[in-house]
Structures are given as structure tokens and as C-alpha cells.
Symmetry: C2
Subunit: 265 residues, 2 copies
């Protein structure tokens, strides 16, 4: 008897930004697995279901349990905030299944339900920073050597990418964002706009608009539920927003909209 395994992103910490598909598959599931915090985000949807809550740092065990439950015939939703396809549980599930010789066409059915990730939600709150090419970098060096991350920051700086930073800091992870700032200051102006978004769309949401120069003054806003967006050479601040125009330097003239020859893709 084979069940089904959904790996579900419920978006930022507010039901409003969950997709219909996420709610649908949670409704269809008999078993819910997830971090305590994530499971609590959807507590109203899972009242009559079997719920397995986990503490942090138990991902491998959790992946195995989800797969075993689904193989035993359960319909399982592994729930997380954001998008499980971005630094989430999708990888560990597929990795575990691949090691066991799983065949997607013939074995356990798996569906990743994408969600609004921190890059989507945080950008929407602070303006329009992602109108141009951007790089997404996690500061977590638990599974990735710091030299690799440092090299990526430098590459992103050289490419003039807007940079979205996941996991910018934790109690033990302090120097990483400081080092990142130092690298970026070799390539970008001290006045480059920076946004720190803590707890996007949660009741505790806190936004700080600052710049590379002044970033160290706001380390109290960094933590496990913070995201940092660092502008590129085209990003400008306007009131409390960070704006990237469309195009490298805005080529079109906003007054020209009556010109029928103006073609803007």
C-alpha cells in the first residue's frame, strides 16, 4: 500500500500568502509533519489530523519518517514556511529517495508544492529590488564551507547582482554578514541601499531600510527569521522604499509613453 508525500510551502507566516494548492493538499493529508513553529502556522487546518512536530536539527530523521509514513499508505504533508524548493526540505527528501533506488514513475508519489519564499515576500514589502538580475546566498556555513560562500559573495559583487541573503545571522553566526559587507564595500558605494526584513508578514514584522555603511548598526534585527536585500549599482532609495528601475539604467523616458514607436518589453 502506497500513500503520497507532499512537501508543502505555506509561504510567509500569514495564511493570506499561502496558495490554494497548499491548503488543498494539507486538507487531503491524514498526517502532518513539520517543525513546531511551521506546524503552528497552520494549526487551524490540521485539527483532526495526526501531527508529528519536530525540533530544529532533526531534518534527516524527519525525511526518513515522512517517506516511511507515506510508504505505509499515509497521505503525508511535510509542512514548512516559505518555499520548500528554496533551501528547504525538497532536496533531502529527493536525496534520500534517490539513495534508496526510488522510481518516481513506479514508486511513492511525491509532489513539491511551491510557495512564496522570503525572496518574494521580502521584496514585495520593501519596494522593487528584484527588477534586475539577482543572486540568492545563504550565510549558513554549517553545511557549506565559508570559503565557498565568500567566493560566491565576491562573484555576485563582481557581477553587480542585487543580493538576497538568507540566514544572515544567528547567535553563533556573527562574522559572516560582516565579512560579506566588507567584500561588497570593495565593489559598491557605502550608500548602496540595504533592507533588513524580520518576520515578513508576521505580527512581529520589522523593516529596517539602511545602507552598506550603516548595516552594522542594525545587528539586533538579524536572526533566524530575517532576510537581507542588498542593492546593486542601479538601486536607489525613495522614501522608505528601495527601487530598481527596469533596465540597467532606465533606457526609456517615462514621459514618452504617448510615442507609438516606444517598444518596452
Amino acid at each position: 500500500m502506497t500513500g503520497k508525500l507532499y512537501i508543502v510551502g505555506v509561504g510567509p507566516g500569514h495564511h493570506d500568502h499561502m496558495t490554494f494548492r497548499a491548503k488543498e493538499v494539507i486538507g487531503e493529508s491524514d498526517t502532518i509533519v513539520g517543525y513546531e513553529t511551521y506546524v503552528n502556522l497552520v494549526s487551524d487546518l490540521i485539527e483532526e489530523k495526526t501531527v508529528h512536530r519536530y525540533a530544529m536539527t532533526q531534518e534527516v530523521e524527519r525525511a526518513h519518517q515522512c517517506i516511511d509514513l507515506a510508504k505505509s499508505g499515509k497521505i503525508v504533508s511535510l509542512v514548512s514556511s516559505g518555499d520548500p524548493g528554496i533551501y528547504g526540505m525538497a532536496g533531502l527528501i529527493y536525496e534520500t529517495l534517490a539513495e534508496s533506488g526510488w522510481d518516481p514513475k513506479d514508486g511513492l508519489e511525491v509532489e513539491i508544492v511551491p510557495g512564496v519564499s522570503a525572496l518574494n515576500s521580502c521584496a514585495s514589502i520593501v519596494g522593487s529590488p528584484l527588477m534586475t538580475d539577482f543572486a540568492v546566498v545563504s550565510m549558513s556555513d554549517l553545511l557549506v564551507p565559508w570559503e565557498i560562500i565568500e567566493k560566491r559573495v565576491e562573484s555576485a559583487a563582481k557581477g553587480d547582482f542585487v543580493i538576497v541573503i538568507y540566514n544572515p545571522a544567528s547567535k553563533k553566526r556573527i562574522h559572516q554578514l560582516q565579512d560579506t559587507r566588507k567584500i561588497l564595500l570593495q565593489y559598491r558605494k557605502p550608500t548602496t541601499p540595504v533592507a533588513i526584513i524580520k518576520g515578513a508578514f508576521r505580527e512581529s514584522e520589522t523593516i529596517v531600510m539602511t545602507d552598506l555603511e550603516n548595516l552594522p548598526n542594525h545587528s539586533d534585527k538579524l536572526g533566524m527569521i530575517s532576510t537581507v536585500i542588498i542593492g546593486n549599482s542601479s538601486t536607489y532609495s525613495y522614501k522608505d522604499l528601495m527601487i530598481n528601475p527596469r533596465g540597467y539604467k532606465s533606457k526609456y523616458n517615462l514621459e514618452e509613453q504617448t510615442n507609438p514607436d516606444l517598444k518596452v518589453q
Copy 2:
């Protein structure tokens, strides 16, 4: 009299992956503005509303009209597929408002409603490519000089980023992805997994799993509604999936899950 302007992403071409907030603000609006194709995606939600449909290449005019309508007291939803905060209309709206001296605290109220963008939806369909740092690059050189894009591709290659390519090709835009492939082949193996996703979550959805070597054999799958995901040095294929393990090279042993000392963040 001041209305309100929502810039709304309805996700990939299927209602399932729209957020509750997107549906809510469309319901609340009396006026809907958008590309013909996007507006048609939500035709069932807008039957009794005033609808302004646009052809491609009229973004600037559309931005002005939305702002004027909202200023005249209308509640306006500017609708697009995906996430308007990623290469979408958010930038042009804020840019136009900023040029007019708009004050977000005191003037027209604007809300960006984030959605599931191509990077989220396409990754969910092909496996788990975005478990590691990634760069998002648009091949459209209408508003960005090609030399800038080329430099970004090279930087992303050097940083060993997984690369998500928006707007990979159009009838007139052919050489860009070919040049990108040549650059990447200087840094990555010809066997590096590549996914082409056309029309994600639409009825016409087509997926091709290939590699850098064989990418040119699939140019018929490239176009305005295609996205390309190119793996990095850690990406591997398994059956029809592209998998990135968590961590640079998976540090943890999947068999060690019973070891209480194993800490995986």
C-alpha cells in the same frame, strides 16, 4: 478622492498556485488592468469588473493608466502571472510614482501582492535545484546591454551558482542562450544537468531534462513562456529529476540519522 493600487501576481498559469491574498484583492477591485494573456488567466474572477486589456510593449502607458485610475478613486488590480516583484511591473510603478513626488505615507496606497514566480514553480517541477545558492538572470537585452548580462553569466559561473534563466529566447533573441552556454562550458562539465520548463503548470506544460552539452538540441522548447535551470558542480540527475543535495557536498551521512550528535540545520 484616492483609490488603491494593487500590483498582483497570480502565480503560474493555474489558479491552484495563486495565493489567497491575490484572489482577495482582485475580488476587492473594481478595475482590472493587465496583458490580455494574464487577464484571461483570471477571467472567472473578474466578470463584473471594468477590465483594461493591453498588448505587450505598452508597460509605460499601462503604469500611468493604473496610477491615474487609482488616483481618481478606483480600486485597481494590475494583474500579471508569476510574481510582479521579479522582473515585473512593481519597478515601473514605483519609478513612475517616485518621479511624480509621491509619498507612500500620505498619497496613493500601493500594495505589491507577491506570487509564485517561475523560479519557484519551475524548481518544484524538476526536482530540487535550488537547495544551494543561485543566480537569476534574464536573457532579455532590450533594456540591459548584452555585455552586462554576459558579465553576470560569467560571474555566476565563477561563483558556482545554480542559474535560473528568465526570458531565455524569443524569435529575435537567439544567440544569447548559446553564448551563455559557451561561457558556462568553460567552468562546468558538459554533463551538468539542465532543465527547460515551458508553460509551467499550464495545460501545455513541457519539460525537457538535458545537459549543457545537449542544450542546443532543444531550441524548439525555448520561448516567451520558458525558463531554463542550469545546475552547478553539485547538481546531479536522478531519473527525470535534477537534485541538489543540501550542503556543498553533502556533509552528513543519511544513515546517521539515529546519531543524537548529528546537527543538521
